[in-house]
Amino acid sequence: MDVFGSFALLLAFVCAVYAFVGGIAAIRTRHPLLVKSTRQAGLATCGLIFLATLSLEYLFFSDNFSVAYVVAHSNRSLSPFYKVAALWSGQEGSLLFWSFLLAVYVFSALIAYRNKNGELMPYVGVVLAGVQIFFLTLNNFVASPFKALGVPGVSGAMDLVARGDGNGLNPLLQYPEMVIHPPNLYSGYTGFTIPFAFALGALLARYPGEKWIHLTRKWTMIAWGFQTAGILLGAHWAYAVLGWGGYWAWDPVENASLLPWLTGTAFLHSVMMQEKRGMMKVWNVWLVFSTFLLCILGTFLTRSGVVSSVHAFASSNIGSWFVGFIVVILLVCLAAYFKNRDYLKSENQLDSIVSRESSFLFNNLILLVSCIAVLSGTLFPVFSEWFTGDRISVGTPFFNKVNIPIGLLLLFLTGVGPLLAWRKTSLDSLKRNFGWPLLMGLIAGAIAFPLGVREFYSLICLILCVFVASTITMEFYRGAKVIRARSGASFLASAVDLTMRNTRRYGGYIVHMGMVLIFIGIAGTAFNRDVQKEMQIGSSMQIGPYSLLLQNFDTKQEKNYTAERMIIEVTRDNKPVMMLYPERRIFPANQASGTMVAIYSTLKQDLYVVYAGQSPDTQAPVIHVYLNPLVKCIWFGGVIVVLGTLVALLPNRRAVLVLSAVQEPTRVKSLAGALTPSPTLREGHD
């Protein structure tokens, strides 16, 4: 099966090269057969990558310990669930997984547009094939996951051997999130390839109008949704597994995933400027280019270990390939831009500082500043070494100082932007739209201040969150009221109707609402508390309203690991709340250990209990307890964001009308009447 897999990869490489070279020829000659055959080659590339990925999974499931990658990442007792995840737990496999997900996107795009956009698709196909060639080069010639396990033999040559059992999967990765977090994040990274290919293709082809933006909107949103989910799942994994009480540490790898998210978010907003007003064309093209470059950079940072100083002595030759690829893409983008930039002339100018346009402009500006700050902070060790010879890194204070005000500004714009009119907003409409929300925000602040929310940023954040939530609620309320007045349906049904009629706009609001919740959760960080104590059986500790009593500890033998388990009773006001079992797991296969945090999570706060190890002096267990307010809001907000993204991906209204036509014929008529533009149902967000 390993031969089969590597052969499939090699063939995929050949097909991708054909799709690339043949595609260029097809663009030059416009020969219909050549166009068709290159598209087929593109599809074949994807099919072969699917086969290679399947065969690597087969090797994991058949416990084939003659393959180095399987030996390094699996063992016989590993559960099937994690054998799937073992695919992306190492360098070679994750690069194959990258190719795999990219192939899924490329395959869907080639199929979806097979009979459409005949002028544009050959260009898109060439760009996609170019990206695939790069990853297939790595899969085939640099980091093949199908390498046989070898040991240096007596003669000096490598002898092939098979082992009885593998080293097992890294315990930190044996956690459910680790099965879903990487695929989400990778789907985000790879997904941005599609908008990139369309943008570059359209620029190269001088494809008229804003069509590429319409074509790629859904793809961008899908990639963005995955990226968001991936980042949050990663944060949740760090929170639940790493046991340091937090979820975000501005680690280079975390930053790497945030960078394309920031530019991607900027892009999702600024395309509206181009669609509505024909502005910012150059900006949009470069936002897509940068997002894709940052995806590759992110993969490079995680894969090469160039930044993280723990890895400073771990060299990996893969890095130079990525740097080369980034330079090539950058040169191609620059060349395409300078050749065809006249095609990107703006049709309009900014009219007023209080307008939808300017809110988008500022939204983009600060997202970009944030991106630059995070990027420079992440790469600071590299650049400082180049320029000064000293390797200097910057830590959390740097990132927080810049990004907290940026986050708050963004939050403010989230509330303000969608309600400003295009071109120019009158003072009257400002009062009408923002009077109540502003009042609500200030009232919330006035209530919170005496209750102890004194930290400046947290207080501002709370006020803004209430402000934004009120503007969004008001938008739903006003729209639903109009529908309700005409149809007589309930408020909730009207709001659903409203959403379904303009999924893009109201889906966007739902996403914003989710972001508000995430901000509330992050603001809670200012009030985190923690206590660490050496415990004996029977001793107890106190944090906030909770008492923790160490009842006992035991050792549990599981299939793949041994768990040292603390049995802790949590009480509040002398009433039992629940039992918590923080663990340390020891994995014999690779003599590694991992922490299992026990969390008692309520909407108000998380009680986060870690068995931190034994005290060096007394051998008594050390328990570290954190009380983290509002963390649940972050995860809940994340779910809302993803739901909102899904809503925004739905097609508008029609399907819903047909459905209700069967049930309530009278309502359909009135609904159709409601479709005429009314002052409240502005043509808005999209």
Binding site: L173, L185, I366, V394, V402, P616, V622
Partner: protein, 145 residues
Amino acid sequence: MQKRAKFGIGIGVIVVSLAALAWLGYGESKTYYHTIAELQTLQGASLSHRMRVGGTVEPGSIHRLSGRVDFVLQGEGKSLPVSYVGSEPLPDTFVDKSQALVEGRPAADGRFVAEHVQAKCASKYEAAPGGTAAPAGGEARTSTM
């Protein structure tokens, strides 16, 4: 022109104030990375910087004393005695021969006083070629994205 000036001022204020904050944060958190060999050649003011030093934990050198943990880091043929004085328990991955990164300041007596210790972070760690091999031979590669 007036419109442009307004935008210019708005953008300028935002960018300048964020840059100022970045500068403050930089001053507060900058940490120099040095190898063990470099550390021994440092003089004067650069000895008072906050710094990170990476190396391999010398087998058998870990001594857990009350209130601190002493160990020796090796790298490039040199060694550096370290006292860890932080309050967090040491990470699970911190064992003999593990690759560790210590953060703190050198003391006058030549010991390095560390407030933070990171041992090879398994989620992102890529073993140096021929470096720390897995216990049973074979390659120890544990990394994800």
